[in-house]
């Protein structure tokens, strides 16, 4: 009952943020800043992300969301058309966000990472990957619904097929036969926030949620949606579900220790770096989803760098 009330309040809060966030969004959320544009710390897209700015090969748009390596290759061959661009996100809550960023940073270094390291030491990697597969399989409903809401019938069928095969022949999802070479049913990397993005909803402003991390009003829908669509949320009593969630996070962290540290080390201002990386990441995801769903759309999708309202980039 308490949990229901808590999440009802969370939903209201998210709704307020959502409305405010969408209202705050500019016609194009992702604006291209010229190198001379003022910014606290511009973070330019790397090669990999730059590929997202360039329309995918016309003959193979559906692969855009699943094959980053192909994007890299394509990008290498298209250096002449590559443009430096970055996606920006409004940050009216920066003081609060910075505090939340600090909180999450300390939570990671003081609690999550040490526990994950101990867990990593004890549990062999194949077992940890199996646990990750298991929870990924459980998260099927959110991905399936997102695909349906995006009218991505092929994606929804793929997710349903993955869930069926991995549950039955993957020992309840511990194994992932669907991703094998023969079946080749890959996870549809989508969520409800992306669904709203595909529908044209702006992401609004930047929010750093405690524990959950970087988000936006639009993408916060994912947090709420995942709660209702994730079976672990329904484990009773509630603290057992929380325990399972913590275990899932520890397991996931154990498989990516070092990634966060590397990005943080490389940045002068980690907060800005993570904010921009988050904005670019989401931009990339949503653009890839749009390209997959509507391959007949003009290849040169309205790129942030094509916004005539913005100053042209200096060559």
């Amino acid at each position: 009952m308490i949990m229901n009330r808590r999440f009802f309040l969370l939903l209201i809060l998210l709704s307020v943020f959502f409305v405010a966030g969408v209202a705050d969004s500019s016609p194009s959320d992702f604006v291209v800043a010229s190198p001379t544009a003022s910014s606290p710390q511009p973070v330019l897209l790397t090669d990999a992300s730059n590929a997202e700015a360039v329309s995918p090969p016309a003959g193979n748009p559906a692969d855009a969301d699943t094959d980053d390596y192909k994007d890299d290759e394509y990008n290498d061959s298209a250096d002449d058309v590559a443009r430096e661009e970055r996606a920006e996100i409004a940050d009216p809550l920066e003081p609060v966000n910075r505090a939340m960023h600090q909180f999450n940073d300390k939570l990671y270094f003081w609690a999550l990472k040490p526990v994950a390291q101990g867990y990593k030491f004890m549990i062999p990697e194949p077992a940890r990957i199996s646990v990750k597969n298991f929870f990924s399989n459980l998260a099927f409903p959110a991905r399936f619904l997102s695909c349906l809401l995006q009218a991505d019938i092929n994606g929804a069928a793929t997710e349903a097929g993955r869930f069926t095969i991995n549950t039955i022949w993957g020992i309840g999802g511990l194994l992932d036969p669907s991703s094998g070479k023969e079946l080749n049913l890959q996870t549809q990397d989508t969520d409800l926030g992306q669904t709203l993005g595909v529908w044209g909803v702006g992401q609004g402003f930047y929010i750093v949620w405690p524990v959950f991390g970087p988000s936006s009003p639009r993408d916060s829908v994912t947090i709420a949606g995942n709660y209702f669509l994730y079976p672990v949320s329904y484990i009773s009593p509630w603290y057992a579900g929380v325990g399972v969630g913590i275990f899932e996070e520890i397991n996931a962290t154990s498989l990516r220790i070092g990634d966060y540290e590397a990005l943080k080390e490389a940045a002068i201002d980690p907060y800005v770096a993570f904010r921009d990386a988050y904005a670019q990441y989401r931009f990339k995801k949503i653009k890839a989803r749009k390209a997959k769903i509507n391959p007949s759309a003009p290849a040169e999708e309205k790129s942030p760098s094509d916004n005539s309202a913005l100053p042209k980039k200096e060559e």
Partner: protein, 266 residues
Amino acid sequence: MFKKFFTVNCFVILLAALFIFTIRSAAMAAGLFGPLQTVSKETGGLNTAIGYFYHEDTYKNGVDHTVRLNEIYSQAAYGAKNIWEVYARAGLADMKIFDIFSSTDAFIMTDRDNFEANWEFFGTIGAKAFYPINSIWGIGAFIQGTYYFSDFTDTVSGTKGETPFTTELKVKDFWNVNFGIGVQAALPYGIKFYAGPYIYYSGANVSMHSYISVPEYYLDDDTIRNKSIVGGFTGLDIPLTKGFRLNIEGQFADRVSAGAAISYTY
């Protein structure tokens, strides 16, 4: 009072004789054995399967009874070099023993005749080895053991004369071990045919708990074991598509049992 207690005890013992000791020689449950040769990759790898097995058997102890089990299970196996495999299964099984509650005593009336228990958990482990003689023929052997973690329980009500009674019968700690050898032939289209004899051995504890109009009465567990019984098995393993295979198998001991499984090779 003593006379009544004595009468009840005699009555319970009679029920016990009817319900327990007649299943002393029950021969039950085996499960699919599968092809003698592993379907895992030669370099070593997993294969997983789901399966269904319909098992029937009869036993005799003055009167014939038929035991029937439906089993559904999930299996994970690891094999290598096309010669060996170990596997484990987890699944659910129900049990029906026909006419176990019917009585030849005209004074005993029961509300039904069959023992029926709902789905209970079981686990199986097994291993198999295969020796290829040539590109077509090969011989192999397997050993497989199953344990049913949950009790199979059913209750019957009735009267003896005018005395009502309720009896709960439990089949507990049910297990079986199977060992078989066989030959396997490689047919066109990657189909494998296999057949051979097997022996199996099973045991369980059976208890009866009766509620009569006087103080509750129960009998201590009684262990039932079947004699080693020889049966035969034969089956086909048929490649489907994209790494999936269909395995169909029949077993014959006192009665015919059959099952099918769909496996996926990683």
